[in-house]
Amino acid sequence: MDRPSDRLETDRVGNASAPRPAGASPQTPAAESFLVRVLRQDGPGLKPYWETHRVERAADMNCISVLQKIAERAETVEGKRVAPVAWECNCLEEVCGACTMLINGRVRQACTALVDQLLADRPGEIELRPMTKFPVIRDLVVDRSRIFAALRKVKAWVPVDSYLDMGSGPRQSQEDQELAYQYSKCMSCGCCLEACPQFLKIELVREKGESETHFRQRLDEANRQAFLGAHAIAQVELFNLNPIGSMTARQRLDVLTGEGGVQICGKAQNCVKVCPKGIPLTTAIARANRAAVRHVVRKWFDL
C-alpha cells in the first residue's frame, strides 16, 4: 500500500482498496438506507409510472449523488433490473439550472437538495418527479426549449453595432449594477414557470407524415401565443435597464404588451417564492406592467 496520506481525497464510495487521507471522514452506518420514489416515463406521451429504489446513505449526499447511485445499481427495491433513471444536470452547484425537478413536491435544483435535510423533514423516503409544466422527454428530463423561445421573443440581448473595438460600455452607478445583476443571475431553470398558475403546459405531438419543419412551426406558433412567464419579463427589465439595451426598449415592450404578454400574470406571486436565485420577479413584473401601460398609452396617442 502506498502512502495513504499525501493524496487528494479519492473516491469515497464503492472502492474499498482506494487509499484515503488519514482517517477519512466517518461514514454513516452502512446499514442505514432510504427509499427513493421516482416518477418515470419512457418517452414523450407515454404513461408515467412510479418506481422505488433503495439507496445507501453516505456523507454529504444530495439528490444528484442519489441519482448517480440509482444509475450505478439500476435495480428497484423489488430486485428488478431497470435502465438508469434519466435526468439532466451539469454544474452541480446551482448556477446552470439544468437539474430542476420536483423533490418531495417542491420545484428546485437536485444539486442543492441535500439528503440529510430532506430526510430530516420527511424520514425514510425521497420523492422525485419531473417538472409538470414542460413535456417529459424521459423520466426526469423535460423539454424546456420554450424558456429559450421566450428569450428570443423578447429580444433578450444588447444589440451592439459590431464586435469591433469601440471602447468600453457606458459608466453605470453601483445601484444600477446591483439591480441589473439580480436579474442577470437568472439561469433559465424554469422554477418560476412551474409555480405559475397562468403558465400552462404545451405538449404537441408530431402527427403522422408531418415534416419536422412544419411541426417546429406549429410549436413556435403555440409558444408565441402562450404566456411568456416571469423569467422573460424580468429579462425585459434587465435589457431595458441597460444603457444600450434601453435604446430598443420599445421593441421589447411591444412584445410584453402583445399576445402572451405581461397582462396574463394573475399576480399569484408564486414565482418569486420559488426562485432559487432570489430574483425580485414580482418587482420586475410590477415595473414591466407600469412600463407597458405607458407604452400602450403612448402608442394610442402616437407619441
Binding site: 482506494a18 466517518p26 446552470c96 428570443r152 440581448w157 444588447v158 444600450i244
Partner: protein, 659 residues
C-alpha cells in the same frame, strides 16, 4: 456562392465567442453541445477576468506585465507570441464584454471595479460578483441567440460529437453527431470544425468541473490523429469543498478580497476557530511568501496546503484534511456585494455561514492546462500574426481548438482569472483565421462528395449499434469510472512519483479493458444516457494514458507538475558563503533542467492503443526563463545569484539561438 460553414463543438465562452464572431463575418455556424449553451461549464467560473486597466496602468502595470505574469506563472512552458497577443487584446475584450451588458461590479464613480488575483501584484481582475463566468457566458449566449434569430446560427443543444470527417486531402470537412434524445446519428458538412469542448475533469472522478467536462470530443479527435500537448499539466485548485458528487470551488476571489488561509498552531485545536487568538494562528502562506501572501499561484498554494496537512500534521480536523479560508474579518457589505455567489454555495452545501465562521477547504482537480496541440504564426519579432489561418489550428487541416481544450495559453500552471480571457480571446481570434483558411481553399471542404459523409455516418451508426447490442452482463461502467477517478487522483495530481505512475498506467490499461466490455443496461432507442455515458467512459482512457505517460516521462518539477524526487536542491545553510555557493548550484541545476525539460510534451495516438510522446521546443523569445520563486522567504539569495549571472551574461556578446 453560399456562405462558408463552420461547426463548433461546445458552446461555453470560447465556442460562443467564436460563434458570434463567425456569424458577424457571415459564416453559417452550427454549434453542437451536450447541454443548452447557457448551461455550459463556463458558468462555474467565479472570480473574474484579467486585463491591464486604466487603474493598474497608473500604478506601473502594462500589457507586457500581464504577459510576464502569465508566463512566469506558467513556468515558461507557453509559446510566448500567442500569450503576448492575449495580454495585448485583453483590455479591448473586457470593453467588448462591457458593451454586451455584462454586469461588472462598479466603483462609486461608475467605473468597472477590479480586484487582485493570484500570481500578480496588480488589481487586474474585473468581476461580476462571484459569478463572473456565468455573467460572461450569458452575454455571449445572448449574442448567439440574436444570431440564431437572424438565421446565422443553428444550435444542436443535446448532441454528442462523434468524430471529425476528413476529405480526400485530409482536411476536416464536417463532423458526425448524435442527437442524444432521438439517438439519430447525422453529419454536419463544414468548411472548418472548431473544438471548444473544455477540460477533462471527469477523468479524475470528482473535480470542480461540470458533468459535461468528459473530454470525449477531444479524445475522439485525438484518436483520429490530432495531437495532444502538455497533458500532464492538470491544475489542482487550492480551495474547494468536498461533496459526494463533486468538489465545489471556492474562488480565489475570496483571497483576492482579503480572505486569509490559516490553521491553528496547535494541531487539531478543539476550540471554535473564532476563539483562537491571532497569536495562535498560523497564516502559513503569508509567512512563507511575504510578497504575494495568500495570492501565490495555485500550484504553490495547493502544495503548501498539502505540506501543512501532511508533513506538519496541522490539518484543522483529524478525520478530514482541511485548512481554514477565513473571510470573517471582512466587512459585511463587501462580502455581499463582491462574494455573495461563493458564500451562498458554501452556506447551501455546508450549512455554515462563512460570514461568521471560517470555511474549511481542501484542494481539488480544477483545470486542464494541456489540450489539443495547435499552431500559431509569428512575426520575426515574436508577435502573433492576428488573422493567420494557422492560429489555433490543430495538425489536422481545418480542425481548430480553442478555450480550455487547447494547450496554448497557460503553460505549466494557469493564473486565476486568465482562463476567461484566454477562452474569449481564442474564440474571437479564431474567426478571422478561419475566414482566411476558407478563402485559401480551392474547393470548399464542405463540398466533399456525398459518399464521404455517408460512409462516416454509416460507420458511426454501426459502432453505436454494436455498443447498444452489448447487453448488461459486463462490468459496471459507473464503478469503472469511480476507479479510474481514484487511480488518476491518487497518482497524477499534486504529488507524483514514478513507481506510482507506472502502477497507475497499468491500472488504467486494465480498467480500459473492462470498459470495453462494460454493461449497457439500457436498450432504449430514446434518450439513452447510459449508452452515451459508456461511450464517453471508453474515450476517457486515451487521455488518461496520455496524462499518466506524460507525467511519468517528465522528470522535473514545473508548475503543477511536481515530483519530490526531482525537487530543486535546498538552499538552507546558515553560513552566508556556503549559502551563496548553494544558490549558485541551484542556478546551475535550474539551467540544466531547462535545457532538458523546457519543452512541450506532444502526444500522438498510435494504432496499438498507446500514446507516443515527443517533445517540442518552447518559444521563449520574448521573456527568457527565470527562477520562479514568488519571493519565497529565504530564497532571495537565489534571486540575487540569478541576477548576477544574468548581468554577467549581458556583458558578453549574445549568441541568439532560434527556438
Amino acid at each position: 456562392m453560399p456562405s462558408p460553414r463552420v461547426v463548433i463543438i461546445g458552446g461555453g465562452l470560447a465556442g460562443s465567442a467564436a460563434a458570434m464572431k463567425l456569424a458577424e463575418l457571415e459564416f453559417d455556424v452550427s454549434v453542437v453541445s451536450l447541454t443548452p449553451l447557457k448551461r455550459s461549464h463556463s458558468a462555474c467560473a467565479q472570480g473574474g477576468i484579467n486585463s491591464v486597466n486604466d487603474l493598474t496602468r497608473q500604478l506601473g502595470d502594462s500589457e507586457w506585465k500581464h504577459f510576464d505574469d502569465t508566463v512566469y506563472g506558467g513556468d515558461f512552458l507557453q509559446h510566448q507570441p500567442p500569450v503576448k497577443a492575449m495580454a495585448d487584446w485583453a483590455p479591448r475584450i473586457i470593453d467588448l464584454m462591457d458593451r454586451l451588458g455584462v454586469t461588472f461590479n462598479r466603483t462609486p464613480e461608475g467605473f468597472r471595479d477590479q480586484r487582485r488575483f493570484g500570481g500578480t501584484l496588480y488589481r487586474r481582475t474585473a468581476f461580476a460578483g462571484a459569478t463572473t463566468g456565468q455573467q460572461l457566458l450569458y452575454a455571449l449566449d445572448e449574442q448567439v441567440r440574436r444570431w440564431e434569430c437572424a438565421g446565422r446560427v443553428k444550435k444542436y443543444e443535446s448532441a454528442d460529437f462523434l468524430g471529425v470527417i476528413r476529405d480526400e486531402h485530409g482536411r476536416a470537412c464536417g463532423c458526425a453527431v448524435q442527437d442524444i434524445q432521438s439517438m439519430e446519428i447525422f453529419v454536419l458538412p463544414a468548411d472548418a470544425v472548431v473544438i471548444a469542448s473544455g477540460g477533462c475533469g471527469a477523468l479524475f472522478g470528482r473535480s470542480t468541473n461540470s458533468m459535461a467536462c468528459l473530454g470525449s470530443a477531444v479524445s475522439r479527435v485525438f484518436q483520429q490523429g490530432a495531437r495532444y500537448a502538455n497533458g500532464e499539466f492538470i491544475q489542482v485548485h487550492p480551495t474547494a469543498i468536498p461533496g459526494a458528487d463533486k468538489l465545489r470551488l471556492i474562488s480565489e476571489s475570496a483571497r483576492g478580497e482579503g480572505g486569509r488561509v490559516w490553521v491553528p498552531r496547535r494541531p487539531q485545536d478543539p476550540r471554535p476557530p473564532q476563539e483562537i487568538p491571532e497569536s495562535e494562528r498560523y497564516y502559513f502562506l503569508e509567512e512563507r511568501y511575504p510578497k504575494y501572501g495568500n495570492l501565490v499561484p495555485r500550484d504553490i498554494a495547493t502544495r503548501e496546503i498539502f505540506r501543512i496537512c501532511i508533513e506538519e500534521r496541522l490539518s484543522v480536523q483529524a478525520d478530514r484534511m482541511c485548512v481554514y479560508l477565513d473571510v470573517t474579518h471582512l466587512p459585511r457589505d463587501l462580502l455581499d456585494r463582491k462574494l455573495a455567489g461563493i458564500l451562498e454555495i458554501y452556506e447551501k452545501f455546508q450549512g455554515v455561514d462563512p460570514r461568521t465562521a471560517p470555511m474549511k477547504i481542501f484542494p481539488a482537480v480544477h483545470y486542464t492546462m494541456g489540450g489539443l496541440w495547435c499552431d500559431y504564426e509569428r512575426t520575426n519579432d515574436g508577435e502573433l500574426v492576428v488573422g493567420s489561418p494557422r492560429n489555433q489550428q490543430t495538425n489536422i487541416p481545418g480542425l481548430y481548438a480553442i478555450g480550455e481544450c487547447d494547450y496554448q495559453y497557460h503553460g505549466a500552471n494557469r493564473l486565476g482569472a486568465n482562463s476567461l480571457i484566454a477562452c474569449i480571446f481564442s474564440g474571437l481570434t479564431v474567426a478571422p483565421g478561419i475566414a482566411a483558411y476558407v478563402d485559401a481553399q480551392q474547393r470548399r471542404p464542405a463540398e466533399a462528395p456525398a459518399s464521404v459523409f455517408e460512409q462516416a455516418q454509416r460507420a458511426h451508426r454501426e459502432q453505436y449499434d454494436r455498443l447498444i447490442a452489448r447487453g448488461d452482463s459486463g462490468p459496471n461502467p459507473y464503478q469503472i469510472h469511480q476507479q479510474l477517478g481514484a487511480t488518476m487522483t491518487r497518482a497524477a495530481t499534486v504529488i507524483r512519483r514514478n513507481p506510482e505512475l507506472d502502477a497507475a498506467y497499468q491500472e488504467v490499461c486494465e480498467l480500459e479493458e473492462q470498459a470495453r466490455r462494460a454493461a449497457v443496461v439500457d436498450r432504449s432507442g430514446w434518450a439513452n444516457q447510459n449508452a452515451v455515458f459508456v461511450r464517453a467512459l471508453q474515450d476517457m482512457f486515451p487521455l488518461a494514458k496520455t496524462i499518466v505517460r506524460g507525467a511519468r516521462l517528465r522528470d522535473e518539477c514545473r508548475g503543477a507538475h511536481y515530483k519530490p524526487e526531482f525537487e530543486m536542491p535546498a538552499v538552507d545553510s546558515s553560513d552566508p558563503q556556503e549559502r551563496r555557493r548553494q544558490a549558485e548550484h541551484w542556478c546551475d541545476v535550474f539551467e540544466e533542467n531547462n535545457r532538458r525539460w523546457l519543452k512541450s510534451t506532444v502526444a500522438s495516438w498510435k494504432a496499438d492503443g498507446q500514446p507516443e510522446i515527443a517533445y517540442e521546443p518552447v518559444d521563449t523569445s520574448l521573456i527568457p526563463p527565470r527562477p520562479r520563486l514568488y519571493g519565497l522567504a529565504g530564497a532571495d539569495v537565489i534571486e540575487q545569484a540569478w541576477r548576477n549571472r544574468q548581468s554577467r551574461r549581458e556583458l558578453q556578446p549574445l549568441v541568439h539561438v532560434e527556438p
